[in-house]
């Protein structure tokens, strides 16, 4: 199983690719709504991408209150 750090790095890379921003612009503690300039629906879109990549299923409410990549990574890691 991959480590939390690998999960976090994968998420940052996938988010950068999905929203077409340079990977180095994204930090683990960044607020993804602000850094990526996205709304909550686009965040749900990203979540679907991440689910497909990690082969997990996260209900919409898992994203409630989550706005930084590190917390998102921990939610995904707990289901791997």
């Amino acid at each position: 199983m991959q480590t939390s750090e690998q999960t976090l790095n994968d998420i940052l890379a996938l988010a950068a690719a999905h929203f077409k921003v340079p990977r180095e612009k994204l930090g683990p503690d960044d607020d993804f709504f602000k850094t990526l300039k996205i709304d909550s629906l686009q965040a749900l879109d990203l979540l679907t991408k991440l689910e497909n990549h990690f082969h997990v299923e996260l209900p919409d409410y898992e994203l409630q209150g989550v706005s930084d990549f590190r917390t998102l990574a921990s939610r995904i890691q707990s289901r791997l």
């Binding site: 607020d31 909550s40 629906l41 686009q42 749900l44 919409d60 409410y61 409630q64 209150g65």
Partner: protein, 569 residues
């Protein structure tokens, strides 16, 4: 549809609806690619009545309150009907609030019963405000088999045999208590009566009717006034069907239009903009020839529907666009916040009318709606039947505060007689919104008199409610304003919250302070966050009881600095 004039309460109207269309489908619930359930009006009744009986056996009495905190699903409506059947008052609460906020509103409403989802209940039991004696009966849905329910009952098992007693209510009795704001500061619980809902339903369906076979896609949260009316009461009293999605992910929402051949859907502006972005992206991918042909057909559709919408014709002219929406869509309904006219026009030009309106929780659901005769992207439409609107103290441009009188206006704010007296004066609801009528009787909105914002997601945010999160910041004092309240914009849109900081003598604004602000801001749900900050160099004016004189402070700030001084957070 049922003749609503003959009913005194929602429970009686819904009861007749269940008997009138027993074999029609009333609810479809879908989760991603899987349909979870499909209920006829008769199935709905079979689910709701044993629940009503169990509630009555648990001593739930007419006039008592029951809070519902659930995402959109069949159980939400089944539960609400069971509460109405018992003569109870429904308190619909937002499932997206934090557990602490939910507990605060449940306590404020004095609900005797709470019905919620298991994961929400689990979060509430772990919140510091949790008191297991506050609510007498708690029902939770979809709890895992061996879960610790902390005193709650399983919704799925909470039913009793035997006919419940139908408890009729009068038109003046409370039907729902809907919170328009106020989790941090002063909770504003709008007490809406059975009369309010019955009259609102009559007015809305006079312009936009439902009938058996109509399918309404319920995306807005059901606790929201619009979805409660258009995604529950309206379709049910007409024998129509409501489709619930347990996910709001865009790809599944798009699929639902096609899979269920949706007739109407209500959307907040944010979702509408997302749809527009998706469609524009698709159009950009077309080859030059196809794009040219599409533009020609859009131009033709525009010309032929200038005076009046003609969806049937538009479907023939732009079949691919309409098929992407399932081919049966009659209109998108939007409201709750400002919508860019260009977005409305984009959809109308494709032959998909967007019914734009204006309303507030205090007024039931809607006060005005676009009647599409002709379509106007620059207004929020005309007053609905039975609604009187006035512009108070108009200025030279005829712009003033919008006041409303209607049988749909709430009875009062719960336990707030002073606030009620300030808001409803001589039977007129003072909306706090600035507007004027054009020569065709359409209402145009021009901003707010109140210090508040309405997000693109349709949420009302009052700065006072979120200030507590910044209490204790290492500065002399701080407060939050709606930017358009300080710098009067005479326009809607571009709404943002601004944190105003007064630093200590000799204090510099540094990175540490900024990080502290960012970290505190993150404790708020994303839609409540402050987007900008500014440093103010004078002490805040205060009353004798040390409350900030907000109007004066806002005027002082606007008089000395420009909106451009607000730094992005």
């Amino acid at each position: 549809m049922l003749n609503l004039d003959q009913y005194n309460c929602l429970g009686a109207a819904l009861r007749d609806a269940l008997d009138r269309w027993p074999n029609e489908t009333c609810l479809i619930e879908s989760d991603r690619n899987r349909e979870k359930s499909r209920l006829t009006y008769s199935d709905f009744k079979d689910l709701a009545l044993p629940l009503a009986r169990a509630l009555q056996d648990a001593d739930f009495r007419p006039g008592e309150r029951a809070a519902i905190i659930m995402s959109n699903q069949s159980k939400w409506l089944v539960t609400a009907y069971a509460i109405f059947y018992c003569g109870g008052v429904v308190v619909p609460l937002d499932y997206k609030l934090t557990a602490s906020e939910q507990l605060q509103l449940v306590a404020h409403s004095k609900a005797k019963v709470l019905i919620t989802e298991y994961h929400l209940w689990r979060a509430m039991t772990q919140a510091p405000e949790f008191d297991n004696r506050a609510v007498k009966t708690v029902l939770v849905t979809e709890a895992p088999l061996r879960a610790d329910l902390s005193g709650a009952f399983r919704w799925e098992e909470y039913r009793r045999k035997g006919d419940p007693v139908f408890e009729s209510r009068s038109r003046e009795d409370a039907a729902c208590i809907v919170y328009s704001s106020g989790t941090g500061g002063r909770p504003k619980g709008c007490v809406l009566t059975h009369e309010n809902y019955l009259e609102q339903c009559k007015a809305l369906t006079a312009w936009y009717p439902f009938w058996p076979g109509v399918r309404y896609l319920s995306i807005l949260p059901t606790n929201h006034a619009i979805d409660f009316m258009v995604g529950f009461i309206g379709p049910f009293v007409c024998g129509a069907c409501v489709v619930h999605l347990r996910t709001l992910r865009p790809e599944f929402v798009r699929d639902a239009f096609v899979k269920y051949k949706i007739t109407y859907v209500s959307l907040v502006p944010m979702v509408l903009k997302n749809l527009e972005r998706g469609l524009r992206g698709k159009f950009d991918e077309l080859s030059t020839v196809k794009r040219f042909l599409l533009n020609r057909m859009i131009g033709l559709n525009k010309a032929m529907t200038r005076r009046r919408a003609n969806v049937k014709l538009s479907r023939k002219l732009l079949p691919q666009v309409h098929e992407a929406f399932g081919g049966e869509l009659l209109a998108l309904i939007t409201g709750g916040a400002f919508v860019e006219p260009s977005t409305l026009q984009f959809f109308y030009d494709l032959g998909i009318p967007v019914v734009n309106g204006y309303g507030l929780t205090e007024a039931g659901t809607a006060l005005t709606l676009n009647d599409l005769k002709p379509f106007r992207a620059d207004t929020v439409g005309k007053p609905l039947p039975g609604v009187e609107l006035r512009i108070l103290n108009p200025d030279g441009e005829r712009i003033g505060e919008v006041a409303a009188k209607s049988r749909t206006i709430m009875s009062h704010y719960l336990d707030e007689p002073e606030l009620t007296a300030e808001t409803i004066v001589d039977g007129w609801l003072l909306t706090g919104d600035l507007g004027r009528f054009d020569k065709n009787g359409h209402l145009q909105l021009f901003g707010r008199k109140k210090n508040m914002i309405v997000t693109e997601g349709g949420k009302n945010i009052y700065p006072e409610d979120i200030e507590t999160v910044f209490d204790g910041l290492p500065v002399k004092e701080s407060c939050v304003f709606a930017a358009n309240y300080v710098w009067k914009a005479k326009a809607l849109g571009q709404e943002m919250l601004v944190l105003v900081l007064r630093l200590e003598e000799g204090q510099e604004f540094g990175e540490a302070l900024k990080n502290e602000i960012v970290s505190r801001n993150r404790r708020l749900p994303d839609f409540k966050r402050v987007q900008g900050y500014m440093v103010w160099n004078k002490d805040f004016p205060r009353t004798a009881s040390m409350k900030i004189k907000r109007t004066i402070l806002a005027e002082e700030i606007a008089g000395s600095v420009d909106r451009a001084t607000v730094a992005e957070l």
